[in-house]
């Protein structure tokens, strides 16, 4: 069980004034309730996780340092966040009306999903400060050498100057789940011996066997890795290995400051899916990559089932006019010979 998470709100509550106690009690109650929730079973007896569980853009990846080890916002902080969200939504709506005066080459703000504000202070819940652990010296060196996100702009000599997300290949396992500015649909479908985890961005469907078969050969490296699942009580645990080193977690910034960036082919991801209510699913993913980060780190997504959410096909390649526009635009900008 997630004892560490249960303990943390207590530590946080101890350092603050009421109404933190109320939050602590609420959280404790919620957690006790969550732990006691028994999900329905599929006809073949597995816990039933099926449904559409869209991600929520409303939680930052890394926790602002001022929160320290506190995982949840106070009432006052939450009210502030809600107020900001309301103003943002209004500004987005008004920007459609006012856009004559603010036309720019960037996309209009109303193209973005903003997400719903929640009390969660950061997606990263471990390390306890909610921030990415230090990089290994090797990864640090690589990042200095490598182009930073955005630096390729202006240089488009080849499609390979564009990252694999721009090229419509994938966002990788983690990047497909971490919410971004649009198309955050996730769907879980089950069959005897299998779970399928489908991500709208960008049209991934991971078919995860539950029969205990071994991973594929270590010589095989896959963009989405090789997933194997099993049940621990009512929790689905999925371990994924055999990644390539060509992808980033939350590649392209993924809408968050502090891009977690590239990982190595030694990456291992352990995901835990737990129904915590009729319409609530807790998704945890622990990233273990000793060649990139000095310690493992874990994100938590609190997903809410949305039966009305429509997952649309993300046929990225055929719609990716931007790819040819960027490359031909760079050619047009070259001096004439």
């Amino acid at each position: 069980m997630n004892l560490r998470f249960v303990g943390r709100p207590f530590v946080a509550a101890a350092g603050f004034q009421p109404p933190k106690l109320a939050i602590f009690l609420t959280l404790t109650t919620a957690l006790v309730f969550a732990q006691s929730y028994t999900p329905p079973k599929t006809p073949w007896g597995d816990p039933d996780l099926q449904g559409v569980w869209p991600g929520n853009m409303g939680v930052p990846m890394q926790r602002p340092a001022m929160f320290g080890e506190r995982t949840t916002l106070t009432d006052e902080e939450f009210a502030k966040k809600q107020e900001q969200a309301r103003k943002q939504a209004q500004a987005d709506s008004e920007s459609t009306a006012a856009s004559d005066t603010r036309v720019g080459i960037g996309p209009p703000s109303y193209w973005n999903e903003r997400g719903k504000p929640t009390r969660q202070a950061s997606l990263i819940v471990d390390p306890p400060n909610g921030r990415l652990p230090p990089l290994t010296p090797e990864a640090e060196h690589y990042r200095k050498e490598a182009k930073l996100p955005g630096e390729w702009r202006g240089k488009a000599d080849s499609w390979e100057d564009l990252n694999i997300y721009y090229r419509c290949i994938t966002r990788g396992l983690m990047g497909s789940v971490i919410p971004v500015v649009y198309n955050n649909g996730n769907q879980i479908i089950q069959a005897p011996g299998y779970v399928v985890f489908r991500n709208e961005m960008i049209h991934e469907s991971r078919v995860i066997p539950l029969d205990g078969r071994p991973h594929v050969s270590p010589a095989i490296h896959l963009y989405m890795g090789d997933s194997r699942g099993h049940w621990e009580g009512n929790t689905l645990v999925v371990e994924t290995t055999n990644f390539t080193d060509k992808d980033a977690i939350g590649s392209n910034g993924a809408g968050y400051p502090g891009d977690p960036g590239y990982h190595s082919d030694q990456l291992k991801v352990i995901e835990k899916f737990t129904r915590t209510g009729a319409k609530a699913l807790e998704y945890r993913a622990t990233v273990i990559d000793p060649k990139t980060w000095t310690k493992p780190w874990t994100i938590l997504l609190e997903l809410a089932r949305d039966d009305n959410y429509q997952i649309l096909e993300y046929a990225c390649h055929e719609g990716n006019y931007a790819m040819s526009d960027i490359l031909s635009g760079a050619r047009a900008a070259e001096p004439r010979r």
């Binding site: 709506s93 209009p108 109303y110 721009y166 400051p257 990225c316 006019y321």
Partner: protein, 136 residues
Amino acid sequence: MRNKLTYTLLAGALLLAAAPLWAHHAFEAEFDQNKPVTLAGKVTGMEWINPHSWIHIDVAGPDGTVTNWMIECGSPNIMLRRGFTKHSLEVGTEISVKGYQAKNGTNRANGSSITFKDGRKLFVGGSNPDIPDDKK
């Protein structure tokens, strides 16, 4: 005082966290800020595709020559949830668009501002799912 500072910092931190970094494409690599365009014409079609939808319009030049332009929009799912349906922009509808032309010189532009003939703006009045439930 300390609380005030804390909340100012918090507000800043949250704003930073919410800063929109557009995920899929770098617009400055695709569109040219030195080529602003204002286009007026009739809708000839709409591509509801990912990662971005495109509106097609026929634009008549001063000499009567008609050219077809493509205007880039958001992803279909965002458009739908903003209240945009296939009936929002029927073929033949007259619109005007302000935007920037593609760097490659083709008749493609981003469309930050799209206006109907009667002055209504596209998207205005659409549902806004980003407003928290209790504020709707």
